[in-house]
Structure formats: C-alpha cells, structure tokens
Subunit: 526 residues, 2 copies
C-alpha cells in the first residue's frame, strides 16, 4: 500500500491539511516520505463522536464476533507483509529480526485476547438466586456482569512501534473489552502507524462494525490533551515518559467527569546480585547483564537501570566482566533524535555527579543518534543521599549500587519508588536474604523474577506489566497479558429484571455455557 | 462497657486531650456524655506508622486465620449487646428495629468476607507453565496472585452508623484483602464508633494480630486530610457528600504517590414509571414510592430522588396517590443538625425555583431536626434547562419529571449524571421502551432494578453499590458485596521463582486446593 499521510475518520478522508510533518530514519537522519497531517480539535471531536456512536453497537457484539474481529486485525496486519517490517525498521532504527518478532507478538496478543473474549472470564458473571421466603426480608434475583467503560484513548509508545502502538496491547485489550478506540499515534513512526491503522480499519469493515470503532490520529500534545478531555472518552492508556503520563493523569483528574488513566511511565528495574550468585558466576552475570542492558539500544521499559549487590571482590568481578562486555557494544541508533538527546543529557548528568563514578563505556557510535553505553557505580549511602540517582535514564545506562551489608541493601530497597520489575540472581544459599527482601520487593513492583533478565515480557495470562507509582499511574492493573482487559470494564448489577431485558449472557439459558459464580460458588461450563 | 472518649493507638491510650466534643441526640437535641478527643497530626502519624508496621505480618496471615479474625470481629460486635443498639439509636435518631437490622447486616458482611477469604477467588491465581523448548524463545514459569495495597484509610458515613462505619463494608473488605485499616470515625456517632472500635481491637488481640492492624480516630477535616496525605496510606474508602469525596480525591491525586480513593458520593437514583406499569397500578406505585422515599428519613444513598414518567392522567394518579401517602408521613429526626439544615436548604431552593411546583408535603415534624417530606414536579424541558434540578437533596424530597414522550424520556436519561441505581417499573407491554432505555441506563448506573425500590442493598456476590461519576469516584468498583475486596488488591507476577520464595498459595502443592487459572484454563478445587 502507498502511504498517504491523510487523516481518516470514519468514512471521511481528509487530505492536504496545513500542519504536517515527515518521519525521520533515526539511523541515518534522513527524512522519509510522505508528509503526515496532524489532527486538530475538530478531528478529535469528530473521532470521539463516531466512537461514542459506535459504542453501543460494538459492545453488543457477541463474544464470537468480537473475537473474530480481533483475529481479523491480526490477519490484516500479517497481510501487510514485508512493507510493514521495512517501514517499521526505517522509522525506528530497530533491526529486522526485532521488528519481525514484535509483529509476531502483536499478532499473538490480538489472538490471545480473541481467546479471552471467547472464554468469558472477563465478564465476571455472578448470580445470587432469589430467596422469596427469606425472613425478615426476601432476597431479589441479582445478576452481575462487567461492561466496557466506553470509548478509550490510546497513546502509542515510541519504543514498540507495533506491540505498544496503534494495534498494540492497549488497543487490543480495550477492543476486547468492547470499547471503541481512538489512537493518538506516536509521531516517531507515522508510516508504520498508518499501515497498521489501515489494517484495523480493513478488519472493522470486513466484520461489518461501525467505522467509529477505531480511529487513528496523529497530532501535537494539544491533540492528545483534547482527546483526554473529550467527555465521550472514558479511559486512556499510555506508555511513555513520566512527564507525559503525569500530564495526562492530571488532565483526566481535572475533567468534570474524571476518568482512569493507565500510564506506564518510569522504572529502573533493580537487579539484585545476591552473594551466592555473585560467588558462583560473577563473570557470566556481567556478560548477560550487558546483553539485557543494551538490548534494543536500552530502550525497554524493563531495562535494568539499577544493580544492587554487596560490595566486595565478587561484585568487582561482575563489574569487570560487565566493563569488558560493554566495551564491545557498538550502539545502534536510538528511536528518535529527541530520545537520543534525553539519553545523552541523562548520561552527562550522571557523569557530572560527584557521588558516582563511571566505570565502563561502550563504543562510540558510528552514525547519528547513537547512545553510547555507560555503567556507573555508587555507594548505597550516596544513592540514598541523592534522589536523582534513582531517576530513569532511558537507554543503555545503568548504575551499580554497592551495599555494605544486607541491612543496607534492605534499606535501599525500602527507599525505591515503584517498579515494573525486580530481578533476583540467587543461589540456594541466598534464600535467607531473599526471603527478607521479598515483602519489600512485592510492595515495590509488579513482577519479581529470578535468575533471568527483566527485558522480554511474555504475553500470557499470569504476566503483570505494571507496578506501583511511578512505574504506572495505577498499580492495580497490567498493560500486558490477558488481565489487561479488566482495566476497561466495570460491574453492573441487574435486580429482578425480566428475562427479555437481561443481557444475553446473564439469561438462564446462557449461564451454563459460561464461567460464572452462583450464590458464591464458581461454576465452569461443560 | 463505659465509654471513655479516649484516643487509642496500638497499646497506648491517650486521655484528657484538649480539643474534645460530645455527641448530640438528634431526636432531642440533647448532648450525650462523654466528651471525645480529636486526634491531631501526631496521632495520625502514629496510627499510620503502626499500620505500616503491621502490614507485612497481617497480609501474611493464612486465609483461615484472616477469616477467623473477621468472624471474631462479628462476635465481638454482637457481644456488645443492647448497649450498642441503644447508643446507636441515641446518636443517630434511627429506630431500634433499623439499628438491629443494620447490626445484622454488619455482622453478616464480616462473615461474608470471611467466606470470601476462605474461597480464595480474590487471589486470582494464575499460572503459565514454563515452555523450555519453545522456539524462538523459551517461556518462563509465570505465576500471579493479587496482594493487598497496604494500609487503608476508611471514612465512616453518617447514615449507617454500623454498616458503613467503623467496622462497615469498607473496613471489612480492606481487612479481608489483607490491608490494615485506620478509620476516621464519623463525628455523628462517636460513642457507637468507640464501642465498635473496641470490638475490633478485642478481635485483633484475641487473634494475636499486630495492634496496628486497626486504629479508630476521631477528628476534624484536617485530621482526615492528614490521613489521606500520609505516605503509608495506600488507598481510601469514603461514603458521604460529593464535596467531601471530591476533596479527598483531590488530596489523593496531589500526593507525590497518588492513591486510589473509593468515594461513594452522590446519586438521585432515577425511578422510571413506564406507561404500562402506571396504567396498571399508579395508586400502589404512589404509596410504595413514598415508603421508599421516607425510609430512614430519606437518608439512604439509594433514595429515589427523581421520578421519570410520561405526562398524562396515569402519572397524575401516581402523584395523587403519593401526595396522599406523603401527607401521612410524620418525619423522624434526621441524623445530625447539619444534615437537617442542608436538607431544609435544598428543599427551600426547590421551592424557590420557578421551574418546579411543590405538589405534596409531609407532616410538620414534632421535635428538632425533622425534615418535612416534599414532592416536586417539573417538565422535562425545565429539568434539562436547569442542572441544579439534578442535584441530590439528601432527605425525603423527590422530583417528578414529566416527559412528553418516549424520546424526551430518553433525552433526559442521556443527560443524567452517573447513578448508584436506576429503577424501572414496568409491565410486559413496556418492553420496547425499556429495551431502548437499557443501554443508556447501563452507561449511567451501577445497578438496574425492576419493579422494586432502590432503598435496600443486598450484601451478596452479585451486588454492585457503585456507578459512574459522581455516584462514585471510581465506577470500576463496588463498596457493597463480595466484589468490594478487589478495590484493595493489585497483581504481582513471579517469574521462575524457586519454590521456597514463592508465596505459599502459588506453590505446586497448594494450587490444587485453590481456584486458579492454568495456562488460561480455569481450575477449581476438588
């Protein structure tokens, strides 16, 4: 397909808008054709109007139809073929294998949500049977289901142009819940966005759904603000910077009708190198750590930006191994000039901070937008004395915090902000210290992993990609995995409703075929 | 037990504080002994410190121990005997039968949550098995459970001195989730609060739990603000006015680490009298409506403050019937002089509003703090033209909105704010209009009931006492029923953790005895 740069809302195609921009290949600095139009307030208004009009018809789709729609999106994305991969590579600077893998993940999560919609647990059906003879008061027939919140605004992320973008996890889970979606695409990959947006629109048309079920817009910050302020939008999903997420949350809270914002914002993903693990394999840990640190030019939300360990020769060995490995790291281009600039500023701030020492560097990059890898070391007391050392530096930079003893390691942990992940490298001999840390780690993070690396997030049922503030704006949720659907739902109770007014899923004939709770007891179909 | 008016925090009893106040019997205006001390910032600080210290031990209690604790609270409340009933009647002006019923409900919901804790659905356990041979990447062993958020602040409501107060639904669901609770008791019933608080403390001691598991404080608005601002508090539950709820939500959002606030605030609970129902039983509906309107002096969150119907002789018959019934209503005392004053102000505002007509009044009250019942009528066009007509008047006042036709009824419905409940009175002949209304009603409310009255909220599994803003600050939740536990939980994922570090409920030996999801398939014990 040829990219147009047009704004498409419903069945209208708006060409030749004044404000327009072009994508940049971050690996070369070259400008990529065509020009893309920015949506203004009128387009936001129209997209939200169509989404609101589409809501009742879309949320009324039977589970099988909605699942088929999600699968159709997956098919349409695959049907874009290699052109999608090429454009995504060009716009992101990410290598082909990564983009192909990410496409697989994106398609996989759409299919996972299709299965989720069919299985029906998300409806959370509950029935309390009438007790007409109960004394002193009869009990009514009470039935509960979860319904979608309404149209959802999704803000695409820069760092996963497919999996966290136009048809990424937020969109898939909101559509699965029955919510129309208006995406504000990330300007770092407008062509990728247009292609995926067309794929979703093709699936909407193929499935006979209202055109307002899905709209993709590009725009400035004001466009995003108008979207979150629109009274027809009932929730927002966002992956990006802390500043951006907090701004959206503030806008949402200031609305006449506040709405939930699920912003995934900031995490330094502490990695604990326990004494037994360091003693057993400091060298291997150092190498593997650098592999995780530099993956995707360090541009993962789960990038290991902090390492905690007890000071000593084993930690020195780890640092030496990491130093050697990092010295071999030839940096890839970062996603955008802006992200590269922010990385360099963050790295320079650390280099200028008297409380830290730079112990290792990667190679100087060849070409533009290369973020040179960096490893810093500090003492726990210094880390505790300077809150700025706990701020995320988005890119291939990490900070090793040397703790004098276990008490200090626990004390540092208690002072950490909320995190997406924490990682423990440990041996059986480390169990006592690990057990001491566990309650603190649980209170601080959404995922705790052992003897692995935080980069790489499985899309499955048990995954949590979330965590206490500021990792996310709402630690009660996840943005990856099947539980993500719950963010866009709310419960409604139906009391003594005649069968013809009950939702189909709550009628006596439907309940045996769906998981539900009957007078407090769980019932499964079949 | 003799009331002391002391502040009790952990094992410390603080007597003789300067700032103190006494309760008032709203039925007589008499002051009731003793004087109660207000907690200041130091006491809030200390209570939160103890709650934070108690958190890990309390959340680690086995399900059976936590359930036994909830049951012990119920026993200790019942052991207070008639003294509790008498004090609650004196402080609230509510009749004995109501308070006895409310005690039964309070005890019942503690026992319901004990059963919920034992059944284990709230843990939402999920396991994705490791796939070491998967290509291109192996899958880790992933296990998920829900854990409690941390210490919770609960604000007691005035209108249910037992069921929505010190050991009411918010406290029961937070304790069930594993969260220590700091209650700010409502100053309308400090003696009732002290007695119930002592009962909870006795249960804490009996069950060998840390004293910081539960603290009751009384105080001014600043005390509540200090509580919500305290960094150790991780969520808040509130039932009360829209102003109060919004103030708490704003404080919570402005914290360095924002926290969820579950505020149940404002609802006028529209009642739809459908043409068929009006034709069949206008007279009976009028009588029953007044029964619901005046129950508990109109001081229910679910009080029917709005009636919608098509104009015509059947609606006139309903109004005539309601007028006659209301004329017989001899008002009971309202809960506090302040609530009575606000009711009178709201009623006077309606009487002075040229868009409405007062069509009925109750009897003049004998004694202080009596809110005279009132029924007003307006036209749909007037209702739409004056937003103030949709504001809650807390007490036995309601407004009938006459719609010219079904379109106008739908249009009014679309303009309503979020509600706790909506009620349909209907006959089979009304099905078409009801079906047209249903999607709008679902979008506007947490509970839809047919041919009943919204006052009276069952405490069960399928109940929703919640609804879109401003009925609550978070329409994704309920404050009544077993689903309320979910408000105080968040998911954590454990990846490849050695068995000795996994939470007990997620170990291989425990899973078969608990409901869980295994690779996406639901599994039930037994």
């Amino acid at each position: 397909m040829a990219l147009t740069g047009d704004i498409v809302i419903g069945t209208e195609r708006l060409s030749g808008r004044a404000a327009s921009f072009k994508a940049v290949d971050p690996a070369t600095g070259d400008t990529l054709e065509p020009a893309f139009a920015f949506a203004g307030e009128a387009e936001v208004e129209r997209a939200c109007e169509l989404a609101a009009e589409a809501f009742d018809a879309y949320r009324d789709t039977a589970p099988e139809s909605r699942a088929a729609f999600l699968e159709a999106i997956a098919e349409e994305i695959l049907a874009l073929g290699d052109a999608l991969v090429e454009r995504a590579c060009a716009e992101s600077g990410l290598p082909r294998a990564r983009i192909e893998g990410e496409r697989g993940r994106t398609v996989g999560q759409l299919r996972l949500f299709a299965a989720v919609v069919r299985a029906g647990h998300w409806l959370d059906l509950r029935v309390d049977t009438a007790l007409p003879d109960r004394k002193p008061l009869a009990r009514s027939d009470l039935r509960q289901r979860h319904i979608p919140l309404g149209p959802v605004a999704v803000f695409g992320a820069s760092n996963f142009p497919l999996a966290f973008s136009v048809a990424g996890g937020d969109t898939a889970s909101a559509l699965a819940a029955g919510c129309p979606v208006v995406v504000k695409g990330h300007p770092a990959h407008p062509g990728t966005g247009e292609m995926v947006g067309e794929a979703v629109r093709a699936a909407v048309a193929r499935c006979g759904l209202p055109a307002g079920t899905f709209t993709l817009l590009l725009g400035a910050n004001e466009t995003g603000a108008a979207l979150v302020r629109d009274p027809r939008i009932k929730a927002a999903g966002f992956t990006g910077s802390r500043g951006g997420g907090l701004a959206l949350a503030a806008l949402a809270a200031a609305r006449p009708e506040p709405i939930p914002v699920y912003a995934e914002m900031s995490s330094i993903n502490p990695v604990y190198l326990m004494p037994g693990a360091l003693a057993a394999r400091a060298d291997a840990l150092g190498k593997a750590f650098v592999g995780s640190l530099t993956m995707g030019a360090g541009q993962f939300c789960t990038n290991p930006g902090l390492v905690l360990a007890l000071a000593g020769p084993e930690l020195d060995a780890f640092v030496a191994s990491a130093t050697a490995a990092l010295a071999d790291y030839a940096p890839a281009a970062m996603l955008t000039p802006g992200i590269h600039g922010a990385y360099e500023a963050g790295r320079k701030a650390l280099e200028g901070n008297g409380r830290v020492r730079r112990v290792a560097e990667g190679k100087v990059g060849e070409g533009v937008n290369r973020g040179r890898g960096a490893l810093f070391v500090t003492e726990a007391a210094d880390f505790l004395a300077d809150a700025s050392l706990a701020h995320e530096v988005f890119g291939a930079s990490s900070l090793v915090v040397r703790c004098r003893d276990a008490d200090e390691m626990v004390a540092v942990t208690r002072r950490l902000e909320g995190q997406l992940t924490v990682t423990l490298h440990l041996e059986p001999s480390d169990a006592a210290l690990a057990r001491r840390l566990m309650p603190v780690l649980e209170a601080k993070s959404g995922r705790i992993l052992a003897n692995g690396w935080p980069t790489g997030v499985e899309v499955s049922h048990a995954m949590v990609h979330g965590g206490p503030f500021p990792a996310t704006s709402d630690g009660r949720s996840t943005s990856v995995g099947s539980l993500a659907i719950r963010r866009f739902l709310r419960p409604v109770c139906y009391q003594d409703l005649p069968a013809e007014l009950l939702p189909a899923v709550l009628r006596d004939d439907a309940l045996p075929g769906l998981p539900h709770m009957l007078d407090g007891a769980a019932k499964l179909p079949g």
